[in-house]
Structures are given as structure tokens and as C-alpha cells.
């Protein structure tokens, strides 16, 4: 049977390529200083959704919450095979912690309903919390299965997946609707198809069109933008107001050297080092 699948993805700063000042003084991310990429775990989530659609039929909708430039992530999702995408964007969502973010995303998912499966990446490389998936499942009132790396089978309203545990793995069967979080041990994401790139490269949001002084694209090429009012989110549950946690202080990593001995890569020096370690009983 065909499945309606909603995928959540996040555009993240490429934290492996930090240049300039990474953080603003108020403790939030200075996204301008870093190249923005599709969060890696979310690519695996999208791939799992697309593979389920390939096998069973259905529709894959991908949503992202972010600033206007996150539209580029949505285009990438279209290139890879998503059927529909939408950008949840609103200044009033800024500085949301995971609780506020999951509240907003839950409203967005309900706005995109109906759904059989909600699929997310396990965690994002900027916050590294792995919290939004489970919190979203709670707000949607559906079961969650985390650390999924294989979608084994689906039959009607029952699905079977394999997930990693600390001790090994488990094969779990559950009912739909259900939320899955997917790790990078899942099947590798497919490449965007040239055909879809040609088809969707002109897709843009109304915001992007205005910024380029271009006409707002027709329906097929218009990437929808939803703000907090569109998805009927209560403002006091969003942004700082809806975030119990806040950053008190951030410190850049400062490397301090202390009692450092440089050893030449030559036999006598190395023998000296080993001798010292034997003398003080570090080496038995």
C-alpha cells in the first residue's frame, strides 16, 4: 500500500569548516560565517523515505524549519526525489531550543497531514542533541523508533525496522503512524537525478523571487513558505519564550600548553623517553 511520508531536514552550518567568528555574542550561531549544508543524517532519512516510496508507492513531503536561505535545502530534496517541500520560516522562531523546535515542527507536520510515517535524521551536526526527533514524536502522540539503520518491511499499517542498541541491534515491528530517526549506517543517499535537477532548478520561494525581482513562480515551481500563523503555532511556545534552556555562556576552545617536552624523532631521544617512563613506573 502507498505511504504518505513526511521527512524533516535541517540546513546546518558545516561545523567541520569553521572560519571566522562562529558564534554571536548572545550565544546563537553566526550562520553567515559558515557554508550551509544538508544535515548528513537527514540525507539518510530522505533516502530511506524515497526507498520506501520506490517499493510501496506513496508520497514524500520534506519540511525544513529555517531562515529564507534554507530554500536551497528544499531544492536539493526535490532534486533527489521529494514530491513536495515546504519551508517553515518565521523570525519569531529564532533562538528556539529543541522543545520549541519540536513544537513548531509538530504543527508543521500536522499542517502537512495525513501521514503514515515521519522520518528524521538522528541528530544535527550543530546542536548534536538528537532530541528533536523523540520530542516531535511525543507532540504528535505517536510511537518513536530511534537509531534505525534498515527499513526491513512494510505491510499495511505494520512496519518492521532494524535499529542499533548499545549491545548490538534489534528488529522491531510497529504500527503506523510512527516516527523513525535514521543514522548514517542506513543505505547511502542517492545522487540527485539530472532530470529532476533540470526540472526543479527554477523552483523558488516567493521571498527568493522578490529578492531577485523576478515573478513569483507558478504553482509547480513555487516552494511554499509557512510561518507560525500558517501552522497555527502559539507564539509563547516558540522562540526564546518557548525555550526552557538557554545558553548562559560560550567559550571558544583555547588550547593551553602545559609541561610539554619535545622529543626528537631519533633513537637516543626516544630511548631517553622510554627510560624516563620506566623509571617512574608508567611502563612496567
Amino acid at each position: 500500500m502507498p505511504y504518505n511520508i513526511i521527512v524533516l531536514a535541517k540546513q546546518v552550518p558545516d561545523t567541520k569548516a569553521v572560519t571566522g567568528k562562529a558564534m554571536k555574542d548572545d550565544g546563537t550561531v553566526n550562520r553567515q560565517a559558515l557554508p550551509a549544508i544538508f544535515n548528513p543524517d537527514d540525507l539518510y532519512a530522505l533516502e530511506m523515505a524515497l526507498a520506501i516510496k520506490d517499493a510501496h508507492g506513496g508520497k514524500v513531503t520534506l519540511l525544513t524549519m529555517g531562515p529564507p536561505q534554507a530554500a536551497s535545502l528544499l531544492r536539493e530534496a526535490l532534486f533527489r526525489g521529494a514530491d513536495k517541500v515546504a519551508l517553515v520560516t518565521d523570525r519569531r522562531a529564532a533562538a528556539s531550543d529543541t522543545l520549541a523546535t519540536s513544537y513548531i515542527l509538530a504543527h508543521a507536520v500536522e499542517h502537512a497531514a495525513p501521514y503514515d510515517l515521519v522520518v528524521c535524521g538522528r541528530q544535527a551536526i550543530d546542536g548534536d542533541t538528537a532530541q528533536v526527533g523523540p520530542q516531535l514524536a511525543d507532540k504528535l502522540g505517536i510511537p518513536q523508533i530511534t537509531y534505525v539503520y534498515e527499513f526491513v518491511a512494510a505491510a499495511g499499517k505494520r512496519i518492521t525496522v532494524r535499529r542499533a542498541t548499545d549491545q548490538g541491534f534489534e528488529t522491531i515491528e510497529g504500527p503506523t503512524p510512527v516516527l523513525l530517526t535514521v543514522t548514517d549506517k542506513a543505505p547511502a543517499p542517492r545522487y540527485p537525478s539530472m532530470k529532476r535537477v533540470m526540472q526543479y532548478k527554477k523552483a523558488k520561494t516567493a521571498y527568493e523571487a522578490k529578492a531577485a525581482s523576478a515573478a513569483i513562480p507558478s504553482d509547480g515551481m513555487l516552494i511554499e513558505e509557512w510561518n507560525l500563523d500558517t501552522i497555527k503555532a502559539e507564539l509563547n511556545r516558540c522562540g526564546s519564550a518557548g525555550s526552557p534552556t538557554s545558553v548562559k555562556r560560550i567559550q571558544s576552545i583555547v588550547l593551553t600548553g602545559s609541561e610539554f617536552k619535545k622529543i626528537e624523532p631519533k633513537e637516543p631521544a626516544i630511548e631517553g623517553l622510554i627510560h624516563e617512563l620506566i623509571e617512574d613506573h608508567t611502563i612496567g
Binding site: G168, G174, T245, L277
Partner: protein, 333 residues
């Protein structure tokens, strides 16, 4: 001040015991009792061990539907108990279960949660906007942003303040003493409607790599260059009777299995001697070994961050240096 006690098949997880030592410290600072939250079926016998590890109280939450871990029944039961008793702080081990459960509880009770803390302290906080001063908050300290910064996070919206901490980050206490405590029994309201998932099969792997217990660890990074070249790491470990570790980069490149990974997302270790070969020393790796008593680093790059925490630094090619080290060690035998 509560610690979530993770148990699987009647065994208390090491990380929960480690958190009890930190929990004791925080409870003493706050002058409150240390509580343990223990969920399961037939788990009351474990309370004796928990008292000896420092718990003043153990909340025993038993129900047939809690026999095996599943998110929704566990989250529901825990949320009921937390709502009833209103602890200031609840901390959880950031195991696969902890990372599945803690956010679900946080969402249910609308509490703040910080993941993978590397330190916890008590302190005051002035709200930058309202200027209101919150006293005795939990400082939740963790690397973030790919490890490029250390963030201190606070929860200003009330109790409980919750955090998860990975295994190995806090020290394991002595389970000594004959410390006594009280058992508080709590029966949650759960029905079969709260259970959704069915376990079809599971497989457990035996842990053959015991990095945490090793006195000496020889670790290889991406600078080792290949799986085959890890032979240098194995050889040096062999003559020292050491365990073999690795950086995440080496694991991701397929040089060695993940069980050997040292670092924030691997194992945290505190050996007497840590030898880092071809490891650049990214923050996430350093977080997993920087409390080693002695650190020797071998790297071609004189600017590698590992040198900033090493006690002995050798700027050179490990392919030449390691054989010299092996020879010197064999000589004294």
C-alpha cells in the same frame, strides 16, 4: 536531585553508577537528598546496590508493562513520577536508551533538556533581559558546534532541570559503605494501550575491547594511513601490554572497528599512559582522553592540536618513530 537508573535485564548500567557520584556532589552542594529513579519489573532488589553507591532514596517504579524497555510506557511512568515529586534536577546516562527516553520525557512534561554534558555545576544566573537572578541553577556544560566551542546552558523555566551525560565522563564511585536509604514505591498507571512495539529479534555483541579498564592505550588516527599500517599501533600496544584505541577519523576510514574509538562519541578513557599516533587531536577526541595521566603524541604536523595537551610530543613520521619506540622498549627487557 535525581539520577535515572538504567537497568537492562536486572543489571544496573555503569553510566548510572557514574552519575550517582556526580549526583552526590550536586545533592550535597544543594543540601538535598540524592534520589534514584528505577523503572522495571521485579527490580527492587537492586536498591541495595544503589544505596551503597550513594542514593538516599530510590523511587521504585514497577509494572508488568515496564519489564522490557519501550519508550512510551517508560516515558509515561517517569513523567507521572516527576510530576508528583517535582525534583529540581534529573540526570540520565546518554546511552542509546537514555537518548531515546530523556527527550520524550522532556517533551511530555515540557522541561528543558541538555544532551551529552561533559560537566555539571551549581551556580547562579542573571537573565540578560529581565535581570532576574536565578539561584542554584544547574550549569549544563558541553562542547557544541562540531566541538568548536564549550557552551554552558541553563534552564530558567523551572523544575526539573534535566541533562544527559555519556558513559565514562563522570568517575565511577566506590560502591562502599553500607550507606542506607529508603525505598519509595510508585505504581504508574499504564495499560496495554501504552505499548506499541513488538521485538522480533535481537542480537547482543560481546564487548571484546575494554578500553576503560586499560592502564595503557596506544591509539591510531587517520595519520596511520591505512588498515594495514595499523600494524604499527598493534605492535607498540603488544610490547606494552596495552589496549588499542582509535580516533573517529580512523574508524570512519575503516582502519579499525568502532569498538576501539576513543572520544566524545566513542569511549572516554583515563589511562596512566595514552600514546596518540597520527592523531591530530580534534576537540571531540581530546574530550575522550585528555584526563590521561601521561600523553605521548606522534604526528608529522607540528601544529596538530594534540600537542597542546601532550606531555611528550614527537614531531615525526610514526612509521619511523614507532619501530624506534618498540626497539627501545624491547631493549630494557
Amino acid at each position: 536531585m535525581w539520577v535515572y537508573i538504567e537497568q537492562v535485564g536486572g543489571q544496573v548500567a555503569d553510566v548510572s553508577l557514574e552519575l550517582l557520584s556526580k549526583g552526590r556532589e550536586l545533592a550535597d552542594t544543594l543540601k538535598v537528598k540524592l534520589g534514584g529513579m528505577l523503572l522495571g519489573e521485579g527490580v527492587e532488589p537492586l536498591t541495595k546496590k544503589l544505596f551503597s553507591f550513594g542514593c538516599d532514596k530510590v523511587y521504585v517504579v514497577e509494572h508488568p508493562l515496564l519489564k522490557r524497555y519501550e519508550t512510551i510506557p517508560y516515558a509515561k511512568a517517569a513523567a507521572e513520577l516527576i510530576r508528583k515529586e517535582n525534583p529540581q534536577i534529573v540526570i540520565y546516562g546518554a546511552s542509546a536508551i537514555g537518548r531515546d527516553l530523556a527527550p520524550r520525557i522532556a517533551s511530555t512534561i515540557r522541561a528543558g533538556l541538555t544532551a551529552d554534558c561533559t560537566d555539571l555545576e551549581i551556580g547562579d544566573h542573571e537573565d540578560p533581559v529581565t535581570k532576574e537572578v536565578h539561584k542554584d541553577l544547574l550549569y549544563q556544560i558541553r562542547p557544541a558546534f562540531g566541538g568548536n566551542i564549550i557552551a554552558t546552558i541553563v534552564n530558567t523555566h523551572g523544575w526539573p532541570q534535566m541533562a544527559t551525560v555519556r558513559e565514562g565522563v563522570m568517575a565511577m564511585p566506590d560502591g562502599n559503605n553500607g550507606h542506607q536509604g529508603t525505598v519509595v514505591r510508585f505504581r504508574p498507571e499504564l495499560t496495554i494501550k501504552d505499548v506499541f512495539l513488538k521485538l522480533l529479534s535481537e542480537e547482543r555483541k560481546e564487548h571484546t575491547v575494554n578500553l576503560k579498564a586499560a592502564r595503557i592505550i596506544v591509539s591510531g588516527g587517520s595519520g596511520v594511513g591505512s588498515k594495514a599500517n595499523f600494524k604499527h599501533v598493534y605492535e607498540l600496544a603488544g610490547v606494552l601490554g596495552a589496549a588499542v584505541g582509535a580516533s573517529r577519523a580512523a574508524v570512519d576510514k575503516g582502519f579499525i572497528e568502532k569498538a576501539h574509538q576513543v572520544g566524545q562519541t566513542g569511549t572516554t578513557v583515563r589511562p596512566a599512559l595514552y600514546i596518540a599516533l597520527g592523531i591530530s587531536g580534534q576537540v571531540q577526541h581530546r574530550a575522550g582522553m585528555d584526563e590521561s595521566a601521561k600523553i605521548i603524541a606522534v604526528n608529522k604536523d607540528p601544529d596538530a592540536p594534540i600537542f597542546s595537551i601532550a606531555h611528550y610530543g614527537i614531531v615525526g613520521d610514526l612509521n619511523e618513530v614507532v619501530p624506534m619506540m618498540v626497539k627501545a622498549i624491547r631493549k630494557r627487557v
